[in-house]
């Protein structure tokens, strides 16, 4: 596969990437030649068992790691080998990443957590307004000034979602966003994703190992032992 006309129709194209980790003396082949495409506005769910390579794939999509081989294209541009500063800008402006354990900054309030990436692109007042609006949208209007440690797991995940959305990214990438939540909070978070996908048109790539969450998918990708099925 190359960055030809097909790639231009897709937001992100992953082409035959491999990734091997070392755990002590053991080499773990996490991805063994995975290729896929993410289209604009698409809700993609990646499922697989533990150790299937889901999170590794997501890190590649989120430009948080580099593949050992293969290529990643963003809007037709090869991005797996570009300098860190360019990848950082893509993460900031075009990608929103939601970590499994929220990865919020505990010394900041819900509002401040969302504001930080926005302040890189907007002035503070605009960043604040935008963040406030997003938090209200995800149902946290009354919790704006609470420190994240004062929020429940579901609320923290919603803060992470709002943070991922704050710079109007083209794609939101979520790594098992419901794994630490109870069923009600999990449903709430998934509904939020659905709303984001429908109303804002953000492409969403979500990893899960919960089979029932695949109902949200417009596109389902199954990973097993580092390969797509």
């Amino acid at each position: 596969m190359n960055a030809g006309p097909d790639c231009m129709q897709e937001l992100i194209v992953i082409d035959d990437i491999t990734k091997t980790y070392r755990r002590g003396d053991v080499a773990v082949e996490a991805l063994k030649g995975v290729s896929l495409g993410i289209h604009d506005g698409e809700f993609t769910v990646i499922v697989g068992r533990n150790g299937s390579g889901k999170s590794t794939l997501l890190y590649q999509l989120g430009l948080l790691d580099r593949p050992d081989s293969g290529s990643i294209f963003f809007e037709g541009r090869e991005v797996s080998r570009i300098p860190d500063r360019h990848r950082r800008h893509l993460r900031l402006a075009y990608l929103g990443y939601i970590f499994q354990d929220y990865a919020l900054i505990s010394e900041l309030t819900a509002l401040e957590n969302v504001m930080v990436p926005a302040m890189m692109l907007k002035n503070r007042a605009d960043a604040r307004e935008k963040s406030k609006g997003l938090l209200e949208r995800v149902g946290l209007g009354a919790r704006l000034n609470h420190l994240t440690r004062q929020l429940s797991g579901g609320e923290q995940q919603k803060v992470a979602i709002a943070r991922a959305m704050v710079n109007d990214p083209r794609v939101i990438i979520a790594d098992e966003p419901t794994s630490n939540l109870d069923s009600i909070a999990a449903r709430d978070v998934l509904d939020t994703f659905k709303m984001i996908n429908n109303e804002h048109g953000h492409a969403i790539v979500m990893v899960t190992h919960e089979q029932e969450e695949t109902v949200y998918a417009k596109k389902l990708i199954r990973l097993s032992d580092g390969r797509m099925q």
């Binding site: 950082r88 993460r91 990443y97 919020l104 900054i105 900041l108 930080v116 890189m120 960043a127 943070r163």
Partner: protein
Amino acid sequence: MIGGWKIPFFLAARFLKHGSKWTFSLIVLLMAIAFVNLIFVTALFNGIIESVNNQVIDTHMGHIYIFPPEGSEYIENMDDVSARIKSHGKVRGVSPHLYVPGKLLYKNISGTWQIVAIDPEQEKTVTNVSKKMIEGSYLEKDDTDRIIIGRQIAGGRDVEMNALSFRGARAGESVTLDVGGFRKTFTIKGVFYTRFLDTDKRAFISRKLLDEMVPGMSGVASSMIIRIDKTGDEKKVIHELGEMKIRGKLFAWKEAAGYLDSVTESFIHINTLLTMVGMMIAAITIFIVIYVDLSSRRQQIGVLRAIGIRPSLIHITYILQTLVYSLAGILIGLLVLLQGIVPWMKKHPFEMPIGDAMLVVNYHDLLFRAALVVIVALLSGLIPVFITTKTKILDAIFNR
């Protein structure tokens, strides 16, 4: 990128506000202790050096010492010379000294001590021996059969040179001065204790007596000592006195007491050495504390990188925090030092054989050490953050 530069201030302020108060307090306390430690040793040595210097000036030779001119044994026309020196605007007092080459006899003990004939009133304008009487009283101009002796001559149990002394001579007792077979008996009017060994080995008699005993020596001095308004102006005043054609060899107290200069030089070297050791200990302590604190923030730094914050802004964020730690530490250290330790030491100085040593804190030392604490803290903060922003984002986030 609009507004990105505000992020470090925004984050640093919140990290400090909402971070662990214990961690903050501990780091600031350590910074304060490191700073006080750095200053304390230097201030103490400054105090010791100042004490030695003051003792030399205040008890022994004033600021300027005049030896007889080349080829002469005495300074002639001392009253005239004194008057001319006193006319200098910066001179506060002049006291001619005439050394009496003789022995003192007390009971069956005899010893050769430096016996100095002085005008007691003039001596008061230069030295403070008159205020250091521990027994009896100071000389008066008309005391022609009285002598005051230093504690090292009088002797006593706790006296350093007791073995060579009169081993307990007291005010009111008699001593005999033997000058080449000519003897005169004096009553010990008082014993002084300046805590400066060279002064406490002296005995003073009234100049009036000597002039009566040896009229040929009237009007001459073996040396003259001068007190000026301000320590440090010696060279300038010596130069100006030279222009006034004052006959004699004029030396600043530091040159005249060259051996003491080497003592203070030694103190300065020890101080430098201890300061360097103190600085290394402070640097290592500060480095470890800041390093541990910031190393525990790897995940935080990883998250900031993951969401697209520029590494340079992350560096500045933690540098600002470290700056606040160090400035707070310095401020608290200064308060403890200047409002607590220095005033306390003023009331309770270290009693040393050479005099009382207090803490002498000078602006230059404070500034240098404060700058050192800040620089070490900033480096200590920058290194772990720099390393973390160079590691893989995922390794930072998952603390691998």
